[in-house]
Symmetry: C2
């Protein structure tokens, strides 16, 4: 008798963005598996096994979870944000696709969550209020020229753009390269928002432009939003501007 594998989104920060479904899954799970900082966000419960691992081993983690589910365990693989957006859900199904046939009979339930771009957008105003795209700048698994092609089409298509994984120790110049590439297609005054550590104590929002943005301000906890032609700033006295993208085409 096999178990259940929940692939759970914890939202971008503390429990305020946790859904009821996610709470329920975490309370049922016998095993909690994930990248260490995410596992640490799950309240400890007696008798629950916790397996925290490094960020780089997504496929190993997925396989571990699938094997435990085969043994009849109720397992929760946890991701920050939404597991379906640049997180563990794709790794789990990739492991199933490449794994033993019996894994295809497992009961796998993806539990969606609020993703980082949504929390960042909520803090800024409504920059994702119209057509947008989400691009991971990680080039661990895809070559840089694929990323450049996507940046070009996102810019030419006049999409608002959210960058995930904009910085890494292994390749610190990636974000500077991405801004430089976008400058070929977008005006220098294009809105750029850097949402750092959204929902956490050290949260910081930087509102700038494609010409003025400092790539050194982008770290691994930053969600980057690039505006489209319809993105507007509302100036306010004594407070940060609000930013929204008009639903009307320009």
């Amino acid at each position: 008798m096999s178990g259940v594998l929940y692939v759970v989104g914890l939202g971008p920060a503390d429990e305020r963005w946790l859904t009821l479904e996610a709470q329920q899954a975490l309370s049922e799970a016998q095993d909690i598996i994930g990248y260490e900082p995410y596992v640490a966000r799950v309240p400890e419960r007696e008798g629950q096994t916790r397996l925290a691992s490094d960020n780089r081993v997504e496929i190993d983690r997925a396989r571990e979870a699938l094997e435990r589910t085969m043994q009849g365990r109720i397992v929760a693989v946890v991701s920050g944000g939404d597991p379906g957006v640049f997180a563990m859900a794709a790794a789990v199904f990739e492991a199933v696709d490449d794994g033993p046939h019996e894994w295809r009979h497992l009961d796998i339930r993806v539990v969606p969550g609020v993703s980082a771009m949504q929390a960042a957008a909520a803090r800024l105003g409504a920059p994702l209020g119209h057509d947008f795209c989400a691009i991971s700048l990680s080039d661990n698994l895809k070559p840089w020229d694929v990323i450049e092609k996507r940046l070009e089409h996102a810019a030419r298509g006049d999409f608002v753009i959210a960058f995930y994984n904009p910085a890494s120790r292994a390749r610190p110049t990636r974000i500077a390269d991405a801004f430089a590439h976008l400058r070929k297609f977008l005006p220098g005054e294009t809105f750029v928002g850097l949402a750092k550590s959204v929902g956490r104590e050290k949260e910081e929002m930087i509102l700038t432009s494609l010409d003025a943005v400092d790539p050194a301000q982008v770290d691994m906890s930053t969600l980057v939003v690039i505006g489209a032609s319809g993105t507007r700033r509302i100036p306010r006295e004594g407070a940060r501007d609000w930013v929204y993208t008009s639903r009307k085409a320009v």
Copy 2:
């Protein structure tokens, strides 16, 4: 003394996808304002005013909410899904931008939620597991040629695509036109998923391709997902295929 304006996402269906922050905002609010089916999803509470309106009057609804907040009320404008994604948050800030200067001093708090594409993706597997974009097919506020340009760049950039507002009584052929336009740039076997009434009793998932999709199956409750080159189907015996987008570039 002015009040607080919460712009709250209820998630795509029942309360399972409601966040703790959204629950809190709804329990504080004195006035609940929104499109009728969304207002109906908020549990009734004594003393709370409920103002349900038609879908078409987003800006009027936003102004009503802002005026009540000016009068010191605690107001919640509710949207299905995430208010920041093709929903009320952009309308609220657009109303502020065009409205009296004092609205810029209001305490406006956007409360993000799980959006329809995330719930649909969770049901299908992990189709949004890599770079993707979200496009509204509504041409109420933007001309159709802008939509066609975005479709072209989304296809040429090899993004997974989620369509919002794919059908309307006013323009039933819109979705057929969109599929026809995408066929100019994408192979006929490109994955197409129709996620209908996700999370509701009559939920239905249709897995098909760009060549085979029947536009008549797309209604206002449908979230459409178009795959990218990295989107894979995992065949299963006696169960619906799982669909995911590989994190590796092709």
